[in-house]
């Protein structure tokens, strides 16, 4: 027993050394995903053929993430690097340069339908200007719309195919199966939101991450903080939101998993609106949390919004 164990350890060490020395001969495709939602897509497409590393983990904020040496190591060894693009990951370019990786950097938002800041209805209504990003900048949170998520998945399958031609059929089959699930989810979300009266579909969150969700499904999201979590709110923005609520325009208020809840709590207490719970915007929750995968996250968010709006 003991001897067996020792042999297998020695074997494992040798195999590991071989795998490090000849990365090309390793069976698994080495994939680096920039944050948890993309990692979830990659896991669904790659299945057990890929070895996945996620840079910004569950409940992490990719806007302000500081890379660690381990991230550069993972990136240098990667075959494929999956990122959102649209300048969502502020830390990314420096990390790519520093790691000198030869992997293909795949921007998944390529081909997705993008919306620009400043064309949301609420910008005109609240009179607030977005901070950090000027008007006309592209909103990077494209994954919040499910049709866009399908494009992300197709892009991932293409990227995996290019890097690992043997597994091409496998990746495409997985991607198709997953996209079918996304289509079903899309229909479910549409039905769920369809049951909310149109004039009730105004919701307050802490930063402007749900532009796509709102654009795709006809909900208006208002936020005091603007697109990046780094910007600071002004008294005018907060006052505008409070006016919206008092004018019975906004009917629910939420905190997000990646931002400071205090400002939103203050608005809630001033208007008497009850906090509708936590929405997941830029990151999934940890395993066992309320939103461990993309599909569960979307379902959680929509259920929470619907519950809070109908309940009010």
């Amino acid at each position: 027993m003991m001897k067996n164990l020792r042999t297998s350890i020695v074997l494992a060490v040798i195999l590991g050394a071989v795998a490090v020395a000849f990365p090309a001969s390793a069976k698994d495709l080495k994939v680096v995903a920039s944050f948890s939602i993309i990692a979830d897509f990659a896991r669904n497409v790659g299945g057990d053929r890929i070895e996945l590393t996620t840079l910004v983990g569950p409940d992490g904020d990719a806007h302000v993430y500081e890379p660690k040496p381990a991230d550069a190591v993972a990136m240098a060894a990667a075959d494929v690097v999956l990122v959102n693009g649209l300048r969502f990951e502020g830390f990314l370019q420096r990390l790519v340069d520093a790691s000198a990786t030869k992997a293909a950097i795949v921007e998944l938002a390529k081909g997705a339908e993008v919306i620009t800041m400043g064309i949301h209805d609420h910008e005109a209504e609240s009179g607030s200007t977005p901070h950090g990003h000027g008007p006309g900048d592209v909103d990077p949170h494209a994954f919040q719309s499910i049709p866009n998520a399908e494009i992300y998945v197709s892009n991932i399958a293409e990227a995996f195919c290019t890097a690992d031609t043997d597994g091409c059929d496998h990746y495409h089959a997985n991607a198709e199966a997953y996209k079918a699930k996304l289509k079903a989810l899309d229909a479910e979300v549409r039905a769920s939101i369809g049951s909310i009266p149109p004039d009730k579909r105004v919701v307050i969150t802490s930063h402007d991450a749900f532009g796509y969700l709102g654009h795709e499904y006809g909900i208006t999201f208002l936020a005091p903080e603007g697109m990046s979590t780094e910007a600071e709110a002004s008294a005018a923005d907060v006052a505008a939101l409070i006016r919206q609520v008092k004018g019975d325009k906004a009917s629910a208020i939420f905190v997000e998993n990646v931002t400071d809840p205090r400002l939103v709590e203050q608005i809630a207490s001033e208007t008497g609106l009850k906090l509708g719970g936590t929405l997941f915007s830029d990151a999934l929750s940890a395993e066992g949390g309320p939103a461990p995968t993309y599909i569960v996250m979307m379902r959680h968010n929509i259920t929470a919004i619907r519950g809070a709006v109908i309940g009010s």
């Binding site: 979590t229 600071e232 008294a235 005018a236 409070i242 931002t259 709590e265 203050q266």
Partner: protein
């Protein structure tokens, strides 16, 4: 006029809280800032902002986003750094600026280490340091208590503090209270800064402490009027900054500090001890 100046504070509870909180902070920290400036320690506020990180981070990691544990943690870290720096400057040949720099760097590194080991990538600096627009009851109570404590301490130790600031060697030669008073004063600095950080953010806490004091220095040489003037300048800046933030949709913390900054720049130019007046007087002397 009413719409411009009063309505924002009447209509919105968050504006009232912001005003109350920032005015209370001004009342306590401006006098402390005057003493700090007179002791030539104006930059220690900035150092302290970094120094409290390990304490506040530990409080956050153990108890979550609750202002009391985070403040107590920050207070402990700040007091250790201030006492350490003060002790080194008192009992060795090194001056206070060097020892303060050394201690705050050690503390900052420790703080970054604690934050990173936990591995959370939510930006802790944003979570640790509040914003003036989101003051809840806990934060207001905290600021109120700190202000009351500061004013009482200042009232009790006023004469000793004055002597300590202006001529520490004299105070030590006539009284045993020299060293304790110095440490009590450093304690007040830490208390005001930490309370301010948690409730209002770093920029606002340090800025409200130093800028009004620095501006008041251009108007008078006497201590009591200087303190009163600093508090007045601080209060005006708070009101002006919040109104600017409300009417022109500017971020509130920077707006308040810039308002104080404008007063400071104007004081350099037009103060009774500022550039223009002292130039004019100089001239007359020469002519005469």
């Amino acid at each position: 006029m009413y719409d411009l100046l009063v309505a924002p504070f009447v209509d919105f509870a968050f504006m009232q809280r912001a005003l109350l909180g920032s005015l209370a902070l001004t009342l306590g920290s401006c006098p402390v800032g005057v003493f700090l400036m007179l002791r030539r320690m104006s930059l220690s506020g900035d150092a302290m902002a970094h120094a409290i990180l390990p304490g506040a981070a530990t409080g956050f990691l153990l108890f979550g986003l609750q202002i009391v544990p985070m403040t107590i943690g920050g207070l402990i870290a700040g007091v250790i750094v201030a006492l350490g720096a003060g002790a080194v400057s008192r009992f060795t040949i090194q001056k206070e600026d060097a020892s303060m720099a050394a201690f705050y760097l050690i503390s900052l590194a420790l703080g970054v280490l604690i934050v990173s080991v936990r591995g959370s990538s939510v930006d802790l600096m944003h979570v640790l340091f509040g914003t003036v627009l989101a003051l809840n009851n806990d934060a207001l109570a905290l600021i109120g208590m700190i202000t009351a404590l500061t004013l009482c301490t200042l009232a009790v130790f006023w004469r000793a503090l004055v002597a300590e600031c202006l001529d520490p060697l004299f105070l030590r030669s006539v009284s045993h209270f020299g060293t304790p008073v110095h440490f009590i004063f450093l304690g007040l600095v830490v208390l005001n800064l930490v309370g301010g950080f948690q409730a209002l953010g770093t920029l606002l806490a340090v800025g409200l402490m130093m800028l009004p004091a620095a501006a008041a220095r251009f108007w008078t040489v006497r201590l009591e009027p200087m303190v009163a003037l600093a508090v007045a300048i601080g209060s005006v800046s708070c009101v002006a900054g919040l109104l600017l933030s409300y009417h022109f949709s500017l971020p509130s913390g920077p707006a308040i500090i810039l308002a104080a900054g404008v007063v400071y720049l104007a004081s350099i130019a037009f103060g009774s001890r500022g550039i223009l007046r002292s130039r004019v007087r100089h001239h007359r002397h020469r002519i005469a």
